[in-house]
């Protein structure tokens, strides 16, 4: 049948074409494996850095980025995705790469300044325009009749920051009593009608589906949501206290040594700390470590009291206590609703 023969020709052609795609990689490349809403940031940053690198060394650098859920991205690196650098949502996911695949040192976080976190964010509230339910602080979220939208901490790295921020607030207002904090967080999650699997799903539920009174979100995502979905519909409420969300960066030692890209990878991550890198982070709604470099974008970040993951020990401790199977989060749903 002629049809079949055409198919074979097409398949053969496709195979040849695919071969040539992979054959054409002559110039130096760098792969940054990142998490979800950093696409715009790294799109611009990569361009700026590539120009900077070209000026500095004369070398043309082609930088690729991969985006996805933070843990999923870490898994891809563990399973063999050859990332030169990773820029993920939480340290726990990079710890996992060190633990499960030994691709980098366990004390990777000491390698770059500020716990290897060039930019930060925090957890804020997104409410409907005019704040009809008058939500001002964490305490308002546990009132009866308030519906809170937040993703499932077991499937979303960002949601773990939300959860810990609430827990930290409760600790602070209850003389550091774990039992009181547990009660507070349990009540809060009883007010959650939908547990989406990721931050973006929660935003859609809140904004497009019109469900819930308040959305817990990363500050940078809250800004993006307002940008995309309308300042006439939403506004940001900054609570009295929140957690300093630190999305860290790291070099994957085994990969850069194999590919001979250590020099480029180090320069790439260091450039995030440069005035130019800090300004770009601020432009894309991340809080720069050095606010003086933020320029005109500095004004958008409200001042508030921030505690850090160190108040929970570290990510290994927090993960084990709160989010692993049978941990505090699972307890909330075991008691029955």
């Amino acid at each position: 049948m002629r049809l079949t023969r055409h198919f074979f020709a097409a398949a053969l052609g496709a195979l040849v074409a695919s071969g040539s795609i992979y054959g054409a990689a002559a110039q130096q490349t760098l792969l940054n494996v990142s998490y979800d809403p950093t696409r715009e940031l790294y799109k611009e940053f990569n361009q700026v850095f590539a120009e900077h690198w070209k000026k500095e060394t004369g070398e043309t650098l082609a930088i690729s980025v991969s985006h996805g859920g933070s843990a999923k991205q870490a898994r891809a690196v563990i399973d063999g995705l050859e990332a030169d650098v990773v820029t993920l949502a939480l340290a726990y996911d990079i710890d996992a790469i060190a633990e499960h695949a030994s691709l980098l040192d366990k004390d990777w976080q000491k390698q770059f300044p500020h716990n290897s976190t060039p930019y930060t964010s925090t957890i804020v509230f997104l409410v409907r325009k005019g704040n009809p339910k008058n939500i001002k602080d964490w305490g308002d979220l546990v009132k009866p009749g308030i519906q809170v939208i937040t993703p499932n901490p077991k499937t979303s790295g960002g949601a773990r920051w939300n959860y810990l921020a609430a827990w930290g607030y409760a600790l602070k207002h209850n003389n550091k009593s774990d039992a009181a904090a547990k009660k507070f967080v349990t009540t809060l999650y009883k007010n959650v009608p939908v547990l989406d699997t990721g931050a973006r799903g929660s935003t859609t539920t809140f904004v497009q589906r019109n469900i819930g009174d308040v959305l817990l979100a990363w500050e940078n995502e809250a800004f993006l949501a307002i940008d995309e979905l309308g300042p006439d519909k939403l506004e940001i409420v900054v609570p009295s206290v929140s957690i300093l969300a630190e999305p860290p960066v790291a070099i994957i030692d085994k990969v850069v040594d194999k590919r001979g890209t250590r020099k480029q990878a180090e320069a790439y991550l260091n450039f995030l700390y440069s005035p130019e890198g800090q300004r770009l982070a601020a432009k894309h709604y991340y809080r720069p470590r050095q606010l003086e470099y933020a320029g005109e974008f500095g004004k958008r970040f409200a001042n508030l009291e921030l505690f850090t993951i160190q108040d929970f020990g570290d990510w290994q401790v927090a993960q084990k206590k709160h989010f692993s199977d049978g941990g505090e989060f699972d307890q909330i749903y075991k008691v029955g609703r």
């Binding site: 843990a71 898994r75 499937t155 939908v194 699997t197 859609t204 019109n210 699972d330 749903y333 609703r337």
Partner: protein
């Protein structure tokens, strides 16, 4: 007739490479936990609840699809109406749309403020973010299987059968039940099997509409993802293995039934 040997050899070899070896990896992986560990994972209340939901919702959705799919196929074969060809073409759409997009679109329709949901909300009916939402998504992805299996059989159905029944004094209802339905049975069963199979494991479209509340609207594939997020490949594979075995047994039963019903039909 010649050629059985090479054809069967190729079939088994290709199937081994594409289906059996990968699935063997899935079946081997959980046992690093030990038999007890595997049992602990798959017998936890949350996993059991999610398996109940996944299989229950898939069975309901497949049943709805058999009924409504038969109606759609009947309409496409027996009636003439404007734009019939376009309606016919539309049936395949659930295959082409990426599941995540389908999930978003369905949620937009069935959420309390959606085009359809807003009319149901005053009646106290909520679809999106409840187990009913899961069923809706599964109906969507399974529909083409039933329509496309029943349609051609209905088309090939010998009209003389129905004529004979009428000549013998049977009414339309009786003719349908005693003559048409038995002839369609094998096709309906096949469609049921495929729609069910596709629905059991579905993930992309369901997570947007399900609400994902533990013990209530959490599907089994979501728990696999939860295990993966904790870097627990073995536990994830354990849940996957249980789902695989359960659907294999169910499919085998339906396929045996289908063979049986065809033999009965030919007699």
């Amino acid at each position: 007739m010649p050629g059985f040997g090479p054809a069967m050899g190729f079939t088994l070899a290709y199937m081994g490479a594409v289906i059996l070896i990968p699935l063997a990896a899935l079946v081997l992986r959980p046992w690093t936990l030990g038999a007890e560990g595997v049992w602990d994972v798959v017998s936890s209340p949350r996993v059991l609840a999610s398996l109940r939901l996944s299989f229950g919702a898939a069975l309901i959705a497949a049943t709805v699809n058999v009924g409504l799919g038969l109606a759609v196929a009947w309409m496409l074969v027996r009636y003439d109406f404007p734009l019939k060809r376009i309606v016919d073409a539309m049936v395949d759409l659930p295959f082409a749309l990426p599941t995540a997009v389908a999930g978003l679109a369905l949620t937009a329709l069935y959420a309390p403020n959606g085009w359809i949901g807003q009319f149901l909300a005053p009646l106290g009916i909520q679809i999106a973010f409840t187990p009913a939402g899961v069923v809706v998504a599964l109906i969507f992805i399974g529909l083409p299987f039933v329509v496309r299996t029943v349609q051609p059989v209905l088309q090939d159905l010998n009209p003389e059968l129905e004529e004979a029944a009428v000549t013998l004094g049977a009414g339309r209802a009786v003719t349908f039940r005693r003559v048409v339905l038995p002839a369609l049975m094998p096709a309906l069963l096949t469609g049921y099997a495929l729609a069910f199979a596709r629905a059991v494991g579905e993930y992309g479209s369901v997570i947007f509409i399900a609400g994902n509340m533990p013990m209530v609207s959490e599907i089994a594939p979501l728990l696999i993802v939860v295990q993966l997020e904790q870097y627990d490949y073995a536990a994830a594979a354990a849940i996957g293995m249980v789902m695989l075995l359960a659907s294999f047994v169910l499919l085998l039963i339906i396929n045996l039934l289908q063979r049986y019903s065809r033999r009965w039909d030919e007699r």
